[in-house]
């Protein structure tokens, strides 16, 4: 008897659950067309200037302007593990840009991740962060884009996402699981500056988009904010902003942190790789008070429990050949004892970019080199030469093992195996 009714009841429960989830998905896809009351914006020159500034701090053009292309006309691809997503046209062209959008449509895109036509946007556009942007700031950015950017007729490039990620229902499911539009909630126990910093770091500047661990579906994981993450297809590592042995700034002076954000260089370190681009395109334009606010917030981030690792490097002491490689190729700039030259060549002794457990950036910078960003504070930066054509994988592994275990550095060896993937990823000509 029990068995006779058990199956239909279970089936009915499944059907009801499916209907409920289906209804939620449909509601998510359809959106809510009545939640925003259209509001006319009067664009003052002050508002437009503020919008231009905020667009820079959000580094909107980092994705929405093609290298060498027309400003904000979109088209740059963002590679993700699910396929490539192409940034849209933000110029005021009515047909292909945002020329026919109202300020409320624009705010809905930032806050809800939804296009004017109600279509769900992919979170490669970092709306889970940018959702925090206030209506006032959104209106300023909108006023800037509409009034100061030349309209460009350019149809959006179609995303090349794999099934099932190319489906709005799948995206709706992702959003039900991982996204809720959020306004910034000030913390009354913290200073005005800390709150401003939190608003920018968590929101518009979207630092966590790279520096926070994501799950297999590309969503942030609770408790893992700013704990460092691989940039999957770019093969750089965005180091932890909370671990003291990575890129935490807890023991930096506020002035050093804000100088680093504005100039890409301070006594404590130099921006590198994708971060050099972020400084160049975005943070060098920070007003002093905002740079200090971001510094205040970043300095106060709760330190992660990552233990200061010491490794068995001593037992794998680098040999004489490794030291010779260092003397021949590196010591001219970085010094006989890895002491560097302040303002020019980073010290390697005690440098966390050298000793970090994740060696991605270290290997990449030796293979491909790199310049610090050109900024007002450092307009003629020094550059590290590429060595992909001068040193073999085995030589680089030996050299880096030497650097990671000398002058007080005590980090694990770099192996030949570590090198293989970067050689391929570099795609040298």
């Amino acid at each position: 008897m029990k068995l006779k009714w058990g199956i239909p009841i279970a089936l009915s429960a499944c059907v009801l659950a499916a209907l409920f989830i289906g209804a939620l998905l449909v509601k998510e896809v359809m959106g809510d067309s009545t939640s925003y009351i259209p509001r006319k914006i009067d664009a003052t020159s002050e508002q437009i200037a503020r919008g231009a500034y905020l667009a820079q701090i959000g580094n909107c053009s980092g994705c929405h302007t093609m290298p060498g292309g027309e400003p904000y006309a979109g088209g740059k691809g963002v590679s993700t593990p699910f396929g490539t997503i192409y940034a849209g046209n933000l110029t005021p062209d009515p047909a292909t840009g945002i020329g026919s959008w109202g300020a409320n449509d624009f705010y809905r895109a930032l806050h809800e991740g939804r296009s004017r036509d109600g279509r769900l946007l992919y979170p490669a556009f970092p709306y889970p962060n940018i959702s925090l942007t206030t209506r006032e700031d959104s209106d300023a950015i909108y006023a800037f884009l509409m009034n100061r950017v030349a309209p460009v007729k350019r149809e959006s490039t179609a995303h090349t996402l794999r099934f099932p990620f190319n489906n709005q229902l799948a995206l709706a499911a992702w959003r039900l699981l991982y996204f809720t539009p959020t306004a910034y909630q000030p913390d009354a126990t913290q200073s005005v500056s800390w709150n401003r910093g939190a608003y920018l770091v968590q929101g518009l500047a979207h630092c966590g988009a790279c520096h926070s661990t994501r799950n297999a579906l590309g969503a942030p994981i609770a408790g893992h904010a700013y704990d460092g993450a691989m940039m999957p297809l770019n093969d750089w590592y965005a180091p932890s902003l909370t671990a003291r042995n990575e890129a935490s700034v807890a023991d930096w002076e506020i002035a050093q942190i804000s100088a680093w954000l504005k100039h890409g260089i301070s006594e404590r370190g130099t921006a590198l790789g994708p971060m050099a681009e972020v400084v160049y395109q975005s943070t060098q334009h920070l007003r002093d008070d905002d740079a200090q606010a971001m510094a205040t917030y970043l300095k106060a981030l709760a330190p992660s429990a990552t233990p200061l690792t010491t490794n068995a490097a001593a037992s794998r002491k680098a040999d004489a050949q490794s030291e010779k490689l260092y003397v021949d190729h590196c010591s001219k700039c970085h010094g006989d004892k890895g002491e560097g030259k302040p303002g020019a060549f980073p010290a390697l002794a005690g440098n966390r970019a050298v000793t970090m457990a994740n060696t991605t950036n270290l290997i990449r910078v030796v293979l491909a080199g790199g310049f610090a960003p050109a900024t007002t504070g450092n307009p003629q930066p020094h550059g590290m030469p590429p060595y992909y054509h001068l040193l073999s994988d085995a030589e680089i592994a030996k050299l880096l093992t030497f650097v990671r275990s000398s002058w007080g550095n005590n980090a694990a060896a770099v192996t030949d195996l570590d090198m293989v993937k970067y050689r391929n990823a570099l795609r040298t000509p």
Binding site: A374, P381, H382
Partner: protein, 239 residues
């Protein structure tokens, strides 16, 4: 006019002059010494050779002594994706136009001896074809001679047209091939792209081999101007 008026006038002019000087000082980057630039540009020198002379790699061109405007255009084109080379593009991403201009001037100002010409590895017929295309062009195919734009001595024209001598033939043919395939581009109108698309692979091989076999004249500097206007419009080249 009273003396006091004159004094006020002089003071005003002096103040304006000082203000102008200050403004100039604040807007322009302080020019660095040669040594200070050398220290900064190790990243360039590692591949393009000490003082901009090429190292022993056929696809890495000499950049010393090329016209500054040409070098600047190439730096911008690499940074902005009109030329494709993963290493160059990566290196230049965070650099400003102002700094790229200084880098171009640094390498352009170098005056260094050239290597001897390469012994040609192609047939005499191919060399004859190369010579014809370079010096006379081919009117039937509407191909102007290379020297019409790159100068009769083929050492380039200031500020933005490069010389064609003293370069390895592998580099020259790779560049012409890249122009032809649209992998190397310049500011529109892209005159070199148009030219290269009119060349066959045999033409390219012939032109590259003949050019690489020519000695660089004792006056290796780019010439100041061309005797006649360019036969075709070129973006990035003042006309």
């Amino acid at each position: 006019m009273k003396i006091s008026d004159l004094r006020v006038g002089v003071a005003r002019v002096a103040t304006a002059a000082i203000a102008l000087l200050l403004a100039a000082h604040c807007t322009a980057q302080t020019a660095l010494s040669f040594d200070a630039m050398t220290e900064r540009l190790e990243a360039c020198i590692a591949c393009h050779g000490k003082e901009g002379r090429t190292i022993n790699a056929e696809y890495l061109p000499r950049i010393a002594g090329k016209p500054a405007g040409y070098l600047y255009n190439q730096l911008v084109n690499f940074r902005d994706g009109r030329r494709n080379n993963a290493v160059m593009s990566h290196l230049l991403q965070p650099l400003s136009d102002a700094y790229l201009r200084e880098i171009a001037q640094y390498f352009s100002a170098l005056d260094l001896p050239y290597p001897p010409p390469q012994a040609p590895k192609v047939s005499a017929d191919a060399l004859r074809l190369g010579e014809t295309l370079v010096l006379r062009g081919d009117a039937s195919r509407k191909l102007p001679a290379c020297s019409r734009c790159h100068g009769t001595p083929m050492t380039g024209v200031t500020p933005a047209i490069p010389g064609l001598l003293g370069l390895p033939s592998a580099y020259l043919s790779a560049q012409l091939g890249a122009w032809r395939a649209g992998q190397r581009r310049a500011h529109a109108p892209d005159c070199m792209g148009e030219m290269a698309k009119s060349l066959t692979p045999d033409d390219i091989n012939a032109v590259a081999s003949w050019l690489a076999a020519q000695p660089v004249p004792s006056i290796s500097k780019p010439i100041a101007s061309l005797p006649a206007p360019l036969p075709i419009r070129c973006g990035g080249v003042p006309q």
